[in-house]
Subunit: 191 residues, 2 copies
Amino acid sequence: MKEHNKMMYYFRKWATITEEDEARIRSAFEPISIKKKKDLLVKDQVCEYNYFIVKGCMRTFFIDKKGNEQIFQIRMDNNWIADLESFFSQKPSKYNIEALENSSLLRISYKNFEHLLADIPALEKYFRVLFQKAYVNTLNRLTATMWESAMDRYNEMLKENPEIFQRVPLIYIASFLGITPESLSRIRKQI
Amino acid sequence: MKEHNKMMYYFRKWATITEEDEARIRSAFEPISIKKKKDLLVKDQVCEYNYFIVKGCMRTFFIDKKGNEQIFQIRMDNNWIADLESFFSQKPSKYNIEALENSSLLRISYKNFEHLLADIPALEKYFRVLFQKAYVNTLNRLTATMWESAMDRYNEMLKENPEIFQRVPLIYIASFLGITPESLSRIRKQI
DNA sequence: TGAATTTCTTAACATACATCAATTTAATTT
DNA sequence: AAATTAAATTGATGTATGTTAAGAAATTCA
């Protein structure tokens, strides 16, 4: 059960978990692994699970009107990934989630998630704080996208998230920044 | 205490609140009113309160590099408003929050908020779900900003949020959409 | 109610980033 | 290691939206 250790560490960071809770939590999460380029979620499927990435890298994308894949989430070790809109509504997803590396994850089904949070109020607090932070981050990303240049966004990402550049191709990073690979290439040439 | 009724109604929608809890909650929120054009929060101040808008309209904005006010939140009746980044960190805010109408609000201080949630786990669930939804909404707004045209975003806002057009000047709506008033004017002419 | 201020519109021109097409470089597969 | 595929770069050109400036319309204030 060593896959669970890091996740438990993060739970404990923002919530008080008893020994008893810990056993209950561990048993609710199932370890899985996924190969590079395989799909964790496919458009029009219901997102049945919420995933904790133990080790690996995942992207969330959709196909836009012009037929291009557009990526808005890239997540690596010790982060959560899912289409929460589909997961919490249990309706078909608009997105695909794909592994960018061979990855190992922990997953919990929607039903188990709801039961677990009902049983362990400390986890409500953990996820309240998690979503609160995710919301604030996304608002910051939104204001940057609206009112900062692509070059400024690139530089900030390079500073705040250098590891992603070691592990993810630039074509994906370009999309994540909301620009084309050609534009990113030109930005990089200027620096 | 009729200001609190609508807020209690929303708490009850997603959380189970006892009579005893209700009294505790009501006493934690203080009613205030604010005149049009007055500030609820000023840049570099700590956002000391989280606010529930009983009736009225508020905007959150900052001054960009070129000296223009840029608005990323517009909230009306029965919604929450604060700079959550400042509120939860209790560090100075990057933003201003201003009343667009004479408004009545309920406010809760950071300390009281933390105590209240510790005392009433059902509220943890309420705010977990609230932030979860706010996060999903903001991600949808982000993808629209990155990969849809300003005209599409305008039309969607008109459809999803018609009331805002009755109550808020177009210069503010333009900024909220991430464009200039001139661009919005041209978009409207085309329709 | 008239003056002042704010909001909205229009036009000419500017610019950041996109698109299309071709080539080079790097990574993956057999 | 060769062949294939994917990623990255470069140049020429296009376009949505920004900028500047001015005036009209609407709202607020005295």
